[in-house]
Structure formats: structure tokens, C-alpha cells
């Protein structure tokens, strides 16, 4: 553990990522009390107001304060990211561990299901799921969660396969421990490293995916202060008022970037054998 922190601290980029994420979390938590304006309050006078004293980052076409909406948007994005990544983590890990541990037909069936889900490009699959479920924040979380489940299943399965043959698992089995006990007590703790890394990266994906779905109009409620919706609205105003699209775009990029560098840093620190490769 000490070794982990030492290695992680040396990666200045990853530490910076963590700091930025912490900053976002603070913004998100404080949004209801600290946001300078009501994120929904409209005013024809403040329509497209430039960044300045009243509106630090300007106002959108409805005269809503962009900074306040970004703060509330952080809440939304982090929540979508956390729950979507959580759904994928739990469902994927469970399926992957079962497949890896029991092998045979369990593995065959679960792996094929994952292969099939894996065979659709992520955004298209999320779009179709959203079309089935209908637009809402909860459904966005579910759709993104389903889309990223196979990645976790694959990682959990591969890790389980390699841990399963280890001596301590054999020992537990020979002592008559039940399968569930072994999975929970002996295997899970030993496959957490790659799962933690993937969760961090999935957080980044989920924020991007929510923005993309909302951008296409199949995401959260239209007046929600989602970064993706703000970007979609802003895109039409680029020339009149660059701040409407630029700040949400920066907010998304910075958040995703932070989760990515954090994921890279965790990977290097947790498992030196896994060198940072492609996404």
C-alpha cells in the first residue's frame, strides 16, 4: 500500500487529475448553496450576457447563469458517471467472475452474451437502448451502464481465470469452502486492481456518453443543466456568443481528462506490469 502511494505520488499528472476531480466534487456538493444564481432562472435581459461581474462565465440564450449551470451540471455528470460506472462494475464483475470461476457452459453462455453486446458500437447501442427506455436521467444511467458492462465482464473473467488456479484458492476449496465464499473472500479482493482502473476510465466514458446522448436529444430532460445539453445549445450560438459552448466543452474535457490521467496513474501505480496502452 505504501508502495502504491509512493508510486502514485510520483506521477504528477495523475495527482493533478485527482485534484481536479476533487475540485469538481466540491463544486457539485456545494452547488445548491454556493451557486451564484438559480440554474433555472431565466431573464430576457440577461440573454447571452457576456462573461462579467454578474455572470462570471456569461449567460445562455435563456439568460441563465452558465457558471451556476456548470456547477449543477457537475452534480449531474458525476452522478451519471458514478451510477452508470457502478451498474457496469457490479453487473460486469458478477458475470465475469461467474463465467471465469465456473467455466464450461456458464462461461460459454455469459461470454457469448458479452460478445454480442460488445458487437455494437457503444454510442449506437446506447441510442437504441434510450429509444426503448425513453429519455430521462435514470434511463441514461441504465443505458450507459449496460453498454459498459461487457468490458468489466471481460476483465473480471480474465482476472478470475488467472487467480482461480492460485494456491490459496485451491487451499480454500480443499477445506470445503463454498463457491460463493471463495468468489467473495478469495477471488474478488485479488482482482480489484484492474477493476478499479477500469471504473475510473468508465467514469470518463460515461460522462462523454451522457453528453453525446443529450447532444443528440436522446438524453436527460431538456432543461436539465447537463453539460451535453449546454453544449448542444451552445453549438448554435458559437458565433454570437462563444462562451455558451466553450465553457461546457472545457468542463467536459477537463473532467474526462482528469479521470483518464487518474486511470493511467492508478494503472502504473497498482500494477507496474500493465503499462499504459490504448484506451
Amino acid at each position: 500500500m505504501k508502495e502504491f502511494f509512493r508510486r502514485f505520488r510520483r506521477n504528477r499528472l495523475a495527482v493533478a487529475g485527482l485534484v481536479v476531480i476533487a475540485f469538481y466534487v466540491v463544486l457539485a456538493v456545494l452547488a445548491p448553496v454556493a451557486a451564484p444564481h438559480d440554474p433555472y432562472a431565466m431573464s430576457a435581459d440577461a440573454m447571452l450576457a457576456e462573461p462579467g461581474r454578474d455572470h462570471w462565465l456569461g449567460a445562455d440564450p435563456f439568460g441563465r447563469d452558465i457558471f451556476s449551470r456548470l456547477m449543477h451540471g457537475a452534480r449531474l455528470s458525476l452522478m451519471v458517471g458514478a451510477i452508470a460506472a457502478g451498474i457496469a462494475l457490479i453487473a460486469g464483475t458478477l458475470m465475469g467472475m461467474l463465467a471465469g470461476y465456473f467455466g464450461r457452459w456458464v462461461d460459454a453462455v455469459l461470454s457469448r452474451i458479452m460478445d454480442i453486446l460488445f458487437s455494437f458500437p457503444d454510442i449506437l447501442l446506447a441510442l437504441v437502448i434510450m429509444a426503448i427506455l425513453g429519455p430521462s436521467t435514470v434511463n441514461v444511467m441504465i443505458a450507459i451502464g449496460i453498454v459498459y458492462t461487457p468490458i468489466f465482464a471481460r476483465i473480471a473473467r480474465a482476472s478470475t481465470l488467472s487467480v482461480k488456479e492460485a494456491a490459496f484458492v485451491d487451499a480454500a476449496r480443499s477445506m470445503g469452502a463454498r463457491s460463493m465464499h471463495i468468489l467473495w473472500r478469495h477471488i474478488l479482493p485479488n482482482i480489484t486492481a484492474p477493476l478499479i482502473i477500469q471504473t475510473t476510465l468508465s467514469f470518463a466514458f460515461a460522462i462523454l456518453a451522457e453528453a453525446a446522448l443529450s447532444f443528440l436529444g436522446l438524453g436527460v430532460e431538456p432543461d436539465a443543466p447537463s453539460w451535453g445539453i449546454m453544449l448542444n445549445e451552445g453549438k448554435n450560438w458559437m458565433e454570437h456568443a462563444w462562451w455558451v459552448a466553450v465553457f461546457p466543452g472545457l468542463a467536459i474535457t477537463l473532467a474526462v481528462l482528469s479521470f483518464n490521467v487518474l486511470g493511467d496513474g492508478l494503472r502504473d501505480a497498482l500494477d507496474p506490469k500493465l503499462r499504459s496502452s490504448g484506451a
Binding site: 432562472a41 431565466m42 440573454m47 425513453g134 429519455p135 436529444g217 436522446l218 431538456p222 448554435n236
Partner: protein
């Protein structure tokens, strides 16, 4: 590395191919129209069919209307019609028999055959069979053609908007021989008499049409070719015009007007138009089955603010009538002259909703300006305690829900109406086919029936003024505004006039300065 440099070289070369002639050099406009040339027109969406009798969407209509002709045609005064493929029309004393004298020089595309009364009669029958607009021809009792260029139509009862229906561009006269050769289908072929004929239709890329050499009016059309390009995104459309990739765009986003104006080489023209938007309330279910709740919404909405933010103040705010200022039936009446929150709260209290209530509003994600307006309405209704959840859906689901009456509130619009009867009957008559609000009032039904049979314009105007006041007081819909219809064109494009109904029939007079 060398290959990398080569690639950069190619990229620079491609950038260099940008249009040579700067659009800022405005050409001299000749006094006389010039014949020839190609015009590229951006449309919002591609069509689904080229069959005028089956088309229901604006995208298809824009593509079809210049390839076909109709017996009557709209004039510049909104709501008025004049003979087009007919030479003259007379109405009998009892107002049930129309006699059309047809032009004898109208030829069909391809075959060049002269249009006869048989084609007209066949077309009316085909429209009836195609269902989509059968309603408009429902009262025809019989038709006969004493000679090839005369058609007599007997109606069961007087139908005031009948001639207006005949001017509707989709009620087109088709070549009956071509239709029967194609087993009744007109999807990808043309059997029209319009100024332009089809060259090629590639879905989502373009539709190209060229001059109909046998067009019956001398000197028209002026263009050799017209190319329609669907560009669904508004900003992309504006950009394409600014870059000279297109010559004419049919819908100008209000927010881009200033940008286009500033270029100096784009001209924008607007007229009050047919497109009106409203908040629809489902009168079948609580809480909006109570007139007082509906009126509360009508008083609580700040139409000016919505107009300022969403339409940049360019729409005509409306609370007492559905017609734009340039329509013959316009009176200028008002039912909810000012926003009145006190009154709204009192009405809600009387209806037993002093605590307010939660409800939902459905909007179509394909209409961003309606999604935007809905967000503002939501904020305004919070002030009287009505908490609205917005549901933005794809067109398929959205219109399905409206059609089945599966909504509490909606924000949506209608467009394309010409006669007051079209405007009101189908939407507010208890048996109207688009009566999504499930609205039913005997007095309103009676007035609408009378308006449909009355041929005297002054009488009709009075009838419709009264029925509108009744409807809007009852508030099954909360009217917001009537939109302008605009188009923007490059400076060199001449002779195109925007029509309130959004038709592009003026393309036949359009020409391009060299």
C-alpha cells in the same frame, strides 16, 4: 516523414481550391430577367415520397410542388386563390355546382400529352382513394366532363373552402396514363405539369429537377435546373449559404438573421406566415378538464418573453386569434391582453388547486425552438405553482402520443393552413380529425359548420371572429404566437418571393444574375 509532408501538401492544395470568386463582389443585376442557370436550395428535411396525393410532410411537399400543377393557385394575398390550370371557374346560384373551363395548352412531363378533364377527374378520385386528403373532396356528389376541357363538379352542399383546397399544391393533377402504367404508384416517377421535371432523386443528398420544356406559360420557368439539398441542422444551413454552397434557404433561424444581414451579400425576406404555435391542454383529464385551470395557464404565460428569447421578438404574439396580420380574415382581437398572475392564482384557487399541482409537457426533440419555448413556459408556470416536467421525444413517439390523446400538456404548432376552415374545423370541431385536445363544445361546432357553408367573405369573417373568441376563452389551447415565414438568398438570386404558406411555387419566376 516525407510521406507526412506530402500529405500536408495535399491538404494545403485542397484548402486552396476554395471558391475563387469572393461573394463580396456583388454582381450587377440586369433589368430584364436572365434565362438559364442552376439554383441550389437548402431544405430542412428530405422528402419521403414524390407522390403528391400521399405526401403528408413538409419535406416531400417542397420537392413535389414545382413538378405538378393544380386547378387553382394562391395569390399574393393570404387566403385568396385564382385559376391556374383552369382558365375560369363559375359557381351556380345554389352554390353547389362548380364549372371549370380548363386550359388547352397544359402538357405532361415526358409524354407531352395535353391535360384533359379526364385527368382532372381521375386525380380527384385518386386523392379520395389515397385517404390523406379525402376529407377535402368528401362532399363531391358527382363529376362530369361535357367536353375534354370542361369539368363540372356537383357538391352535396356548399363548401366555402373548396376552391382553396384545389389550390393546395398537393391536390395536384396527375397524368392518369403514367399512373396506370406504374400500377398506381407515383413514388419515384413524375406525372405532372409543373414548370420543372424530375432528373434525379438521391435520398438525403439532393433532388435535381430541370426546366419542363412544354410548360404552358411563355418565358417560364427561367432557371435551367434547381437542386434541393436537405440540411437538417440550422446552423449548417446558414453556414452553407454564407459560404455560397447554396443560393437560397427556405427557413431562416431568427438567431442567424443578424449574421446573414451583416454579410452584405445575403438578402432576407419575411412575411407573416402560416406557422402558429401553442400550448395544448388535454381537456379530457384532470386537471385540464377544468376550464378555470386552462384559463389560469393562459393568464400565467408571458408570451412576450417567450417571443423575445426564442424568436428574437420576430413572431406575432397572439392570444385572441390564429391568423397572421396579412390574412383576409384577420381582425386583431385579443382575449388575454396582459400576463396576469393574480388572476391565474385566483382561477387555480377556485378550481381547488391553490397548492398548485405537478404535470408533464411533451415536446418533439426535432423542434428545438419548441423545446426552448417549453422550458420558458415551465419557468413561468412555476410562479403560479404548476410544476411541469418536460418530456422531449423523437417525432415518431411524440406524434403518436398526441394522436392518441396521451398527454397532459404539449407545446407544438401547425402550419400550412390557408382557409379559416382548415385552421379551425379539424382541430376544434368535436369530430375534427386532429382534435388532439379532445375539445367538444356544441356552440363551437355549430359556428364551424356555418363557416364551412357560408360563401360570403364578410359573413365568414364575423363567424370566425366569434368562434375564435369562444375557443380561446375556453382555452383548450393557449395560443402563443404566429411566426413569420422567411427565406434568405444570395444577392444574385432574383425574382423569388416568400409566400405565407411556405410554398416555393415562386421558383418558376426565379432567376440568377450571371
Amino acid at each position: 516523414m516525407r510521406r507526412f509532408c506530402a500529405a500536408i501538401g495535399v491538404a494545403i492544395a485542397l484548402l486552396g481550391c476554395a471558391r475563387e470568386s469572393p461573394l463580396d463582389d456583388l454582381p450587377d443585376i440586369p433589368d430584364e430577367p436572365v434565362v438559364g442557370g442552376t439554383l441550389t436550395v437548402a431544405v430542412q428535411s428530405d422528402g419521403r415520397t414524390l407522390d403528391p396525393h400521399r405526401a403528408t410532410d413538409a419535406g416531400s411537399m417542397r420537392l413535389i410542388e414545382n413538378m405538378y400543377g393544380t386547378l387553382m393557385r394562391y395569390t399574393e394575398i393570404y387566403g385568396e386563390v385564382e385559376p391556374y390550370l383552369a382558365e375560369s371557374v363559375t359557381l351556380s346560384e345554389d352554390e353547389t355546382t362548380y364549372t371549370f373551363r380548363l386550359r388547352d395548352d397544359v402538357t405532361f412531363h415526358g409524354s407531352g400529352r395535353i391535360m384533359t378533364a379526364d385527368d382532372v377527374q381521375y386525380s380527384f378520385e385518386r386523392i379520395t382513394n389515397a385517404q390523406v386528403r379525402a376529407e377535402q373532396f368528401r362532399h363531391i356528389r358527382s363529376m362530369e366532363s361535357p367536353d375534354p376541357h370542361t369539368l363540372v363538379v356537383h357538391l352535396e352542399r356548399p363548401v366555402a373552402p373548396f376552391l382553396t383546397y384545389l389550390a393546395y399544391p398537393m391536390n395536384a393533377i396527375v397524368d392518369r396514363e403514367v399512373v396506370s402504367e406504374n400500377d398506381g404508384s407515383l413514388d419515384d416517377i413524375v406525372a405532372g405539369t409543373g414548370p420543372f421535371q424530375l432528373v434525379e432523386w438521391r435520398k438525403d443528398r439532393h433532388l435535381i429537377m430541370e426546366r419542363h420544356p412544354g410548360y404552358h406559360l411563355d418565358g417560364l420557368p427561367r432557371l435551367d435546373r434547381v437542386r434541393f439539398r436537405p440540411i437538417s441542422d440550422e446552423t449548417s444551413r446558414t453556414t452553407a449559404l454564407r459560404n455560397g454552397e447554396i443560393d437560397l434557404m427556405l427557413d431562416v433561424p431568427d438567431k442567424d438573421r443578424s449574421i446573414l444581414d451583416r454579410t452584405g451579400y445575403v438578402k432576407i425576406e419575411s412575411v407573416p406566415g402560416t406557422f402558429w404555435e401553442y400550448v395544448g391542454l388535454n381537456t379530457d383529464a384532470p386537471p385540464f378538464d377544468d376550464q378555470r385551470v386552462r384559463q389560469a395557464v393562459a393568464w400565467a404565460v408571458d408570451r412576450d418573453m417567450i417571443n423575445q428569447i426564442v424568436k428574437f421578438g420576430r413572431a406575432q404574439v397572439a392570444d385572441g386569434e390564429f391568423f397572421p396580420t396579412n390574412h383576409w380574415a384577420f381582425t386583431g382581437q385579443s382575449v388575454y391582453p396582459n400576463r396576469d398572475l393574480e388572476r391565474a392564482r385566483t382561477l387555480l384557487k377556485e378550481a381547488g388547486y391553490q397548492e398548485g399541482f405537478d404535470t408533464e409537457m411533451r415536446v418533439g426533440s426535432a423542434f428545438p425552438y419548441q423545446v426552448a419555448a417549453a422550458q420558458i413556459v415551465k419557468q413561468q408556470l412555476i410562479e403560479v405553482g404548476i410544476d411541469v416536467e418536460l418530456i422531449s421525444e423523437e417525432s415518431g413517439v411524440f406524434f403518436d402520443a398526441l394522436g392518441q390523446g396521451d398527454f397532459s400538456m404539449t407545446l407544438v404548432g401547425w402550419l400550412g393552413f390557408v382557409d379559416p376552415d382548415e385552421w379551425l374545423y379539424n382541430i376544434f370541431h368535436s369530430t375534427g380529425s386532429w382534435n388532439q385536445q379532445n375539445y367538444a363544445r356544441d356552440t363551437v361546432d355549430d359556428l364551424l359548420e356555418r363557416g364551412r357553408e357560408e360563401n360570403d367573405p364578410e359573413q365568414r369573417r364575423a363567424i370566425y371572429a366569434e368562434v375564435q373568441e369562444r375557443i380561446l376563452t375556453d382555452a383548450p389551447v393557449v395560443l402563443l404566437y404566429v411566426n413569420e415565414h422567411s427565406s434568405a438568398r444570395l444577392y444574385r438570386v432574383q425574382g423569388y418571393r416568400v409566400h405565407p404558406t411556405a410554398t416555393t411555387l415562386a421558383l418558376r419566376e426565379t432567376w440568377v444574375a450571371p
